[in-house]
Symmetry: C2
Subunit: 453 residues, 2 copies
């Protein structure tokens, strides 16, 4: 089911239960649904209301649901929770998700929170926080199942039962010595198939594929995917087991890296959050920086054209700026198309958001267009004979960027709507369409502005 | 470790063992390494030699290694295997991987092979082959663990032991009735934590999240990733369990879909295999088709410019074609950059292949350039006053496309080599660089070709 379907089915029920203060109903909502479904429905509510729903269940269930909520919304939620409840929630979260949240919170809030946590958790958090961003250490969890080598299968199963409730996975079992050196590996399948009296040292694989705690997270994720692992062990430089990275976190990393690459390819500085969760001024910055760099390149092209050309009067001056005005529209349009196509593929947005996206991109396009227009008019002044010509360049850039941004965002949405793959709206195709519109705008603006001859 | 590191470490040893006909050594190579590692090393050998290595181990181990080999190489390997050995190998493969291979083989070979397989396997294959491409049915496996609801935990563990050796996973257990209707779900973790005398019907979750056999594979993969599942059950339209899709296959689907989207965004028809495994003529076709469409759009732009312009003589005729020649280079360059950047991200290629990539793209660029040059010279003829001007357009397109293709491929490789993210070479940046080069080429070709005035 699509995201919106859950919301439209369950949200009204939930609001009704809230209005009626139906405690048992709200408790059932939290416990009966898959935590991922509950999380999605809750994100449709205001943060304080969502937290009110969660107060009806145990901290353990709270944490399970909470972990499926997107980070920006988690941060909002945290502000509605009083310190003692927040402490209990955070203690129940898995170590990797907990650290991701703390990294996004105000340092002031975190400093206030830390003394309330148990000593063991505090040092676990400090350790995980100390690993560099994008390293194996930053995505691993410390809740792995491990056993010594010199016990029997029957004993191992007994001990696993004790570990199971608090471990991220018990399907992969790591064999360590007393100093936590990684000695071997066993799957729960191996264990179940083995004779109860067999010893683990005779069963375990000793050639364990592992990653280092400072390895890049993308490397870790690719290793997991390459060997079809459920989890991979993470060791320090003395081969001591310090954590595991699980397949679901690896899949998230690969998806994030693909998103980053796609955004970079479309000349957008990678966004931290989803397209719709990113504030407008951040988009202006992450797109504007590249548009300015590309504008610089276009002025180099204009300058090269000027070398080859003696201005012959008439409309010939426009030739210098033709590649520039066309590229501005194409670049802005490619950025929009790239962002929207990825958001559609990740189901972060759908056709229902069309109106919202259109208005947002129109606003964004005019902001970016205005900035680039001023910049290009000022620089163009140095390359033209008459001031009005610089004005024509600036005006055209403004119109072309505004239009390119909006059209580049709406075409993929429209493609999706008529059942065609939005990704067919490739960057070169957006650029080609923008070229046609750009030419028409450029010549019309020039004709309007040119003094009568 | 990187792909190439395994090869350089293990390949010499392997060749030595082959030269010495060291049977026990070759057997150990197959059995001691992770099958994914063994597969990678084998891909460094010629297919008949690789098969010779595999003959030293059991069909079960053969199949495990074989399943980690890339599809195009699997197809090559199959041609070196005699029918009786091939039958045994295929019988040992997991149903989903087996069907993927059969779909890629010659229909003649498949028809010859089918009668040799056991009846049960034959009907399993026919069924899986009948599901549409890109559906849940096409990526699922039929080897799932299932149990009835009315048995105890102790009995369940006993039965699971019998199922375990042949099932893709036993960590997720599906509860079905006698007609295979999906009634509930249990994880092995739940089972291990439960009392031995408890009955499954009291333990199982009854609200099972499943997908339909005709759901799109991307939808299935997103569901798995959304709920952090190890596997998801696939049901038919009567809610009967027909298979499962596992997390590793889901990760592959998401990676393929991201690759497809990225290639489409770069105006390349998605490739079936990796960049280096794709034949040159396929690349010519999958890139050429889009370049021709984009050239058509550029001619529309040229035609629009012509409407606004009275040709004023001198170099003014060039203005019409300026966007066209610049776009041709930018488009071809974006295609190359897109393909190489994705191949680098997926580690399908690395800097070591730089020379090979350069020559290949140079050849490809000149083929594409020649085709587009002829096409654009012919069409341009209709828009110019003198034939030599059409010649200038054609020649420029040839040079710009050839250069754009090569530079677009090499810049990301060079970025990787100096330790910068190759994805920074965005489509708009490639287009901007290509604009500068394009202008210089265009004007120089025109100056050389213009009759003395």
């Amino acid at each position: 089911m699509e995201r919106s379907m859950f919301n439209s089915l369950l949200l009204p029920d939930l609001r009704f239960m809230l209005d009626e203060s139906d405690g048992p109903g709200l408790k059932e909502f939290c416990e009966a649904l898959h935590p991922g479904v509950a999380a999605e429905v809750l994100e449709g509510l205001d943060a304080p209301v969502a937290w009110q729903v969660l107060t009806h269940c145990e901290p353990r269930t709270q944490a399970e649901i909470f972990q499926f909520i997107s980070l920006p919304y988690q941060v909002q939620l945290v502000e509605s929770i009083d310190p003692s409840q927040l402490t209990r929630l955070i203690e129940q979260m898995s170590p990797d998700d907990r650290v991701d949240l703390l990294e996004r919170m105000d340092t002031g809030e975190v400093d206030a929170l830390m003394p309330l946590l148990a000593q063991a958790q505090r040092s676990d958090i400090r350790k995980l926080l100390s690993y560099p961003d994008d390293s194996a250490g930053s995505i691993m969890t410390t809740e792995y199942a491990s056993l010594p080598a010199d016990i029997t299968v029957a004993e191992a199963l007994q001990r696993l039962r004790l570990q199971a409730p608090s471990r991220e996975t018990i399907y992969y079992i790591y064999i360590t010595d007393e100093d936590r050196h990684l000695r071997g590996f066993l799957s729960l399948r191996d264990l179940i198939l083995a004779k109860p009296e067999a010893r683990l040292e005779g069963l375990m694989e000793t050639d364990v594929i592992s990653v280092r705690v400072d390895d890049d997270q993308e490397h870790v994720a690719r290793e997991i995917s390459r060997y079809d692992f459920i989890a991979i062990p993470v060791v320090d430089n003395q081969n001591r087991l310090v954590g595991i990275v699980t397949h679901d976190d690896a899949a998230d990393v690969l998806s994030e890296e693909a998103t980053e690459d796609q955004q970079r390819l479309g000349a957008v500085e990678p966004l931290e959050d989803s397209y719709l969760q990113t504030a407008l001024w951040i988009l202006v910055w992450k797109r504007g920086i590249w548009l300015v760099i590309l504008l610089g390149a276009s002025f180099l092209t204009a300058w090269i054209i000027r070398i080859f050309f003696d201005d012959g009067g008439g409309s010939l001056w426009m030739m210098k700026f033709l590649p520039l005005v066309l590229a501005s529209g194409g670049n802005a349009g490619s950025q929009s198309a790239t962002l929207i196509i990825r958001a559609l593929a990740l189901r972060e947005t759908n056709q229902g958001d069309a109106r919202h996206i259109c208005l947002r991109e129109l606003l964004l396009g005019s902001l970016l267009g205005a900035g680039l227009a001023v910049l290009s008019a000022v620089i163009a002044w140095g390359l033209v004979d008459y001031a009005w010509q610089a004005g024509v360049v600036g005006t055209t850039v403004f119109l072309v960027v505004t239009l390119g941004t909006t059209v580049g965002a709406m075409l993929p949405v429209w493609f999706k709507w008529i059942g065609v793959d939005p990704a067919l709206m490739s960057n070169p195709l957006i650029a080609a369409l923008s070229d046609m519109i750009g030419v028409i705008i450029f010549f019309n603006v020039a004709q309007l502005a040119a003094p009568p001859s």
